[in-house]
């Protein structure tokens, strides 16, 4: 396995898209953080000729408070779902290109263990994902201080329990392997770098349609719809940010999560394992004709 990992370090370490991705994550996350903070007022409508209504001012202050530490970590994660798609694309793209370039043949002649090839790719992209997530957390930790240094007075942070922040981070950490395993599986299945992205979009739409079917909603099967792969990820993200998931008072007006947080984690981990197994199975059974 170490030899596969060393090979993947050479393969992925020299790729411009991997380097670019790791460079862009902190830059875009910080930029997105500042941009979303600067445009908070645009989310609220009032007549600009009139003084700001007190309820709007209160809402704006509440939103701004979300950018103060430690809630800033959740704000960064909320603004960076693209990082997870980037991780998916790296996993699918690097795997699919092995078939596109025919290098899968060279790689398997060098070391024929196909399961290790899959595992190594997951670990290698997982390492990239870990670096990206650490960069996101660093941005979440640093940006409130940077804004303060730049003269921006952030309101006191909301009374967010540490559990919620830890839960939101853990959910993101759990989602990364899910997208890596899904990307590697679709890369092996479609034998190219482009189709996985298309399949991801199609699957997302299909799951949305299934979740919205009256037969599903009316029969109390929402939990089933939310257990579909991409819906389970969305559900985990939502449940992890919901104070009710931790036995805390729920946010006013928000319904309780359909699937409890612990079960949400299990479903996502289950799908991750399933995609990993499918990727290994598919590569083991396939004839490499590239």
């Amino acid at each position: 396995m170490r030899s596969h990992l060393r090979a993947d370090a050479i393969r992925l370490g020299a790729r411009w898209d991997v380097r670019g991705f790791l460079l862009l994550v902190p830059v875009l996350a910080a930029g997105g953080f500042l941009f979303s903070y600067a445009t908070i007022e645009s989310h609220f409508g009032w007549d600009p000729g009139q003084p700001m209504p007190p309820e709007v001012a209160t809402a704006i202050m509440a939103d701004r408070a979300g950018y103060a530490f430690p809630h800033s970590i959740i704000s960064v994660l909320d603004n960076a779902p693209w990082v997870l798609f980037g991780i998916f694309f790296l996993a699918a793209g690097t795997t699919g290109l092995e078939f596109g370039w025919g290098t899968i043949r060279t790689a398997l002649i060098g070391s024929p263990d196909r399961v290790r090839f899959v595992l190594s790719r997951v670990v290698a992209v997982g390492t990239i994902a870990a670096v990206a997530l650490v960069a996101l957390l660093a941005v979440g930790l640093a940006m409130p201080g940077v804004m303060r240094l730049a003269g921006t007075d952030l309101p006191p942070p909301p009374d967010t329990a540490a559990k919620v922040i830890v839960g939101a981070v853990a959910a993101t950490v759990a989602m990364a392997p899910f997208f890596i395993a899904l990307g590697v599986f679709l890369g092996v299945l479609t034998r190219g770098p482009a189709m996985p992205l298309l399949l991801l979009i199609v699957d997302f739409l299909a799951e949305g349609v299934v979740a919205g079917l009256p037969a599903v909603r009316g029969a109390g099967l929402e939990w089933l719809a939310r257990s579909l792969p991409l819906m389970s990820v969305l559900n985990l993200g939502q449940a992890a940010r919901d104070p009710a998931s931790y036995g805390l008072p729920p946010v006013a007006g928000s319904p309780p999560p359909d699937v409890p947080l612990g079960l949400s984690f299990l479903v996502v981990i289950g799908w991750t394992c399933a995609f990993l197994a499918l990727a290994a199975w598919q590569l083991r059974r396939t004839d490499v004709l590239e």
Binding site: A7, A14, P112, D287
Partner: protein, 333 residues
């Protein structure tokens, strides 16, 4: 599986849907030999090689490399180097980077990898291009890099799929020299090729594949066997005609050599030349020249592969979706 064989296949077959690409071939490649694997496009050569290195799963039959059974995903290629079809590399890595990656897959790194990489680059003449990205390499340079990759970990068996494809004449000579060096060092070389003179020059043993079946195998000299002929030339047409009568009277097949009035084509093996010379001398006829005429491997190859047409053996036509897929058929020579 026999210990003395570097490659052994027993009834190895591969079917793609309705098309039988390889129809149960038996190969026995002795350790230390240079084995030529001949066949026209679509004969099943690359499919066979892919099965040997575990890239595709045989439909039936078995194969063993260096005494170890081949299983897709589980084949032991630690002592095997292979180039299959067109060479494929990571275009954004340098030649050295690609070799380093391959060395890593073989569990070699550090100074050990440096030494192997330097040796492989030197042997293939790629030293000056070692730091260049492979994406900009010519076909010939890629072919050289593929050879470097196949030889990198000093394997005991090297499998080469048309190793001189795309090389300039200088490169062809270098590759042939490399193959000879490998053989001298005791490495078994299994090579497929279209270049019959190359096979004739390099290989100890040859198998000819047509439509997924081995239609002939043996030493090149055996394949070229048969009666052969002698070209016997005289100074005058009168002498030639007299000689023709003498030899025909002895029951030897003799005819005019093409349109030349002064030369005869005598249907005897080259080793029977002295007997012919003695008979002619006894009749007072002294040839100006006697040249053995060898049947070329090209002629044998065309003869063998022409005979084994799909129509002749009543099987389906080639799979349009697969390079090497072809119907089965043919018979052993």
């Amino acid at each position: 599986m026999t210990g003395g064989l570097a490659i052994e296949t027993i009834a190895l077959a591969k079917r793609f849907g309705a098309v039988e690409a390889v129809a149960g071939i038996d190969l026995a490649v002795p350790t230390g030999s240079v084995f030529g694997f001949l066949g026209p496009n679509g004969a099943g050569k690359t499919t066979t090689i892919r099965m040997l290195v575990g890239l595709i799963r045989p439909t039936s039959g078995s194969a063993a490399l260096l005494g170890t059974a081949v299983r897709p995903g589980g084949v032991d290629l630690a002592s095997v180097g292979a180039v299959v079809e067109r060479p494929a590399f990571y275009p954004y890595l340098s030649a050295e980077g690609n070799l380093r990656l391959f060395a890593a897959l073989h569990g070699v790194r550090g100074s050990g990898a440096d030494r192997l990489i330097a040796g492989a680059l030197e042997r293939t003449g790629l030293g000056p291009a070692a730091k260049r990205k492979v994406g900009g390499f010519s076909t010939g340079m890629r072919q050289r890099l593929a050879l470097a990759l196949a030889m990198l970990h000093q394997p005991r068996l090297v499998i080469l799929d048309e190793p001189t494809n795309g090389l300039d004449p200088g490169g062809v000579v270098e590759v042939r020299a490399t193959i000879t060096e490998l053989a001298t060092a005791g490495t078994t070389v299994f090579m497929s090729s279209h270049v019959l003179s190359e096979v004739e020059q390099l290989c100890d043993l040859v198998a000819v594949l047509a439509h997924g079946r081995i239609v002939a195998s043996g030493a090149p000299a055996e394949l070229l066997g048969g009666p052969g002929s002698l070209r016997v030339g005289f100074d005058t047409a009168v002498e030639a005609e007299a000689a023709r009568r003498v030899l025909a009277g002895e029951g030897v097949a003799v005819s005019r050599a093409s349109a030349e009035a002064t030369a005869l084509s005598v249907g005897v093996a080259a080793t029977d030349g002295s007997r012919v010379a003695r008979r002619l001398a006894a009749a007072g006829l002294f040839p100006a020249e006697m040249t053995p005429v060898r049947q070329s491997l090209e002629a044998v190859f065309l003869d063998l592969t022409r005979d084994a047409t799909p129509e002749a053996i009543g099987v389906s036509t080639a799979d349009p979706g697969h390079r090497d897929a072809a119907p089965s058929g043919g018979s052993s020579r």
